[in-house]
Symmetry: C2
Subunit: 413 residues, 2 copies
């Protein structure tokens, strides 16, 4: 008898009609002879509405205020969990809803972005032992002193994986509005194929490079605890994509998938004096201001006395980053500070890169062949990312998809 | 340093703008040097919306289903409590929101209509000791095995009084959209006066006879635990009505107030055979069907062999009551079963009746003077109720108000 954790996101439970549909999927899993824990998000839009209410009365800044904000926001998942448990009972399937504190899911006290520390399995196991379904409000837990926490937005994937790890589930199925992980975004690359399997490491790179299918943290957690994770569609009855260890992937392609992000902005500081400590003077203050710097490239000028420094931050952080830099570069000689938001990042990802040479060269020549200029390049063991002008994004994605032999033989839809 | 419990109903916290206003009332109470526990309802409309969601997925009938329904519905008060605590903090007043389980408020396991059994004062006292305000989600508690319960609709008055009793509060202020208890409904009787004081016993009679200002159960609880209860307006800055023991009312009027209800329906069964056990045959099945019977009158017919039986049930129960009666009167000889929904009940209430004779006679002669027929009469120590034709209701209320000398000297508004 297998134990399955099923996770349904906001769109999957976006209305009572959809909750009724989800109940049938849960019933089907039970009918297969499995023990089932369901983890649900708030109905789509509900979390945003709750945050809007909070903003209308306060601008939370202290830990106490963040705690009361979590107290408000955690109700969204509680409502969905109760409704799904009610629906299952209506269909004759005994079920019980659990808030995070009733399990309990113990977390850190970093309100609004807490991390799961420990999950007690006893209360839920008592329910499963009776043949009932446990429906868990995702995204939430409690601190040691009994205050409600949330895991931060998107944390419900993470809480589903944490549940699967704690209960040593045989599989964790993440139901969503896409039917799996694709070689590229099928809205842009019509020939993109669904992947049957992808390794945790590849999924991590794809997720951090802009693929929205799974949260990075949930993939990390699945990898660390060896949770067999499946991404599949709530709305179509077909297999999804299974996340597995690298060694379980037999046929290793050079490139497994291509991700992109429009979320980056470029900052270039020209003719910075080239002396020790300058990089620290630039990136130290940004780090202190919690601004994440992604790609960095530094070119020495022909005379060797100065350097051009280019790097990317998220578009949302750009104004803050510029302010911080201007304040902190008073003692540093430099030419100018230029920014550009019309950029996009394209990343090719694949564990096959470890054993196949020339993947980067193929990428650069493909893009050069289309007249696309590379602004910044950064690489890891299984990923190559380039920053390009945003208007070339679709062209670049389609060209690379073809270069690496990812196009589906039969054209989709 | 006094401890005050402040309770705000759904209308008082019906929008974030109103929650901001409520926060200023709480601040004012703190500024007077008081320790403050605030008890809040769901924002108006929220509980109904949650119940609608429940009804869209299920028709709860089992205790487990009622438990999950409570799990859903209790979130309404949680949101308000969190928002008010956030607003107070925004104004610089430290505060913390509590769900029922965090206090905890221990209740029976009668889901959807639980009763408070015990309130632990330690967690809230720890917060009050720091000079913080405790904001409590009303209307809810937990069972011994940690499941969320609700006290049933209108239960938030009761949970506020229960809090005041458990904490031995110096006063429990029920903020509402009216500014106190009146001698009669001021929408009908323009000369109605606000009462500065009313005894628990009178308020109980007024509440059970249709005055919507306070729930009957909350008044009973306040009386039993000697909680000084004040009803006052959220929207106008003036004193309300204080509920006190009878001996604290110095000037005892014959009649303190006049209540009414349009919620009753009359049932008359004519020419019922007059033999032992007939009344039980009529009222037993109604009681078993959870139909509450209010006023009862029985007249023997002139020949003494049969009787006419008249009684009232709530309008909502009427169709069910008729069905039950017809099924159960098969073995009883009777003439006919007649119903009338065009009736209203008028009650005069006052502790002064205990010492003043003739109050009933004054009532009957006043109504007779206006040509109003009395269908049923029922009395208690401090109350006389009559059932009349509904179209005479306003006339009856105004006439009685004048008869008992309740008219305000200065005409209002």
């Amino acid at each position: 008898m297998a134990l399955i954790v099923m996770k349904f996101g906001g769109t999957s439970v976006g209305s009572t009609e959809r909750i009724r549909h989800v109940a049938t999927l849960v019933q089907r899993e039970v009918a297969r002879g499995n023990r089932v824990i369901v983890n649900v998000s708030a109905m789509s839009g509900v979390t945003d509405s709750l945050i809007t209410l909070v903003r209308e009365v306060a601008t939370p800044e202290t830990p106490d205020a963040f705690a009361d904000m979590d107290f408000v926001v955690a109700t969204g998942e509680q409502v969905t969990a109760g409704l799904l448990a009610l629906r299952l009972q209506e269909l004759g399937q005994p079920a019980r809803a659990f808030a995070g504190w009733q399990i309990p899911v113990l977390t850190t006290d970093a309100f609004t972005k807490a991390r799961v520390e420990q999950i007690d399995t006893r209360n839920i196991n008592a329910v499963l032992d009776k043949g009932h379904v446990a429906v868990v409000a995702g995204f939430q837990g409690i601190t040691e002193d009994q205050r409600i926490t949330t895991l931060g937005r998107g944390g419900s994937d993470t809480s589903a994986v944490a549940l699967a790890a704690a209960f040593e589930a045989d599989r964790c199925d993440i139901y969503t509005d896409v039917d799996g992980v694709y070689t590229a975004d099928p809205r842009i690359v019509r020939t993109a194929k669904k992947l049957d399997r992808v390794s945790y490491e590849e999924m991590l790179e794809l997720a951090s490079q802009g693929s929205k299918v799974l949260q990075t943290r949930s993939v990390e957690l699945a990898m660390n605890y060896n949770v067999k994770l499946q991404v599949l569609s709530t709305f179509e009855d077909k297999p999804g994509t299974l996340l597995v260890r690298e060694e379980e992937i037999v046929e290793k392609h050079r490139v497994t998938g291509i991700a992109y992000s429009r979320d980056d902005a470029r900052i270039t500081i020209t003719e910075v004096e080239d002396r020790p400590g300058v990089a620290a003077a630039i990136f130290g203050p940004l780090a202190e201001s919690n601004i994440n710097v992604d790609m960095i490239v530094q070119n020495v000028t022909p005379d060797g006395k100065a350097t051009d420094m280019t790097f990317t931050v998220s578009k949302g952080d750009l104004p803050h980053a510029v302010k911080v830099l201007k304040e902190n570069l008073k003692d540093v000689r430099y030419g100018g500070l230029h920014t550009d938001e019309n950029v996009a990042k394209v990343s090719v990802v694949g564990v096959g890169m470890r054993s196949h040479a020339g993947v980067a060269q193929e990428m650069f020549s493909t893009l050069a062949g289309k007249g696309i200029n590379l602004i910044v390049i950064s690489t890891s063991e299984i990923k190559i990312s380039v920053l390009i002008e945003e208007s070339y994004l679709e062209l670049a994605l389609r060209a690379l998809h073809t270069t690496y032999g990812l196009d589906a033989v039969v054209e989709r839809g």
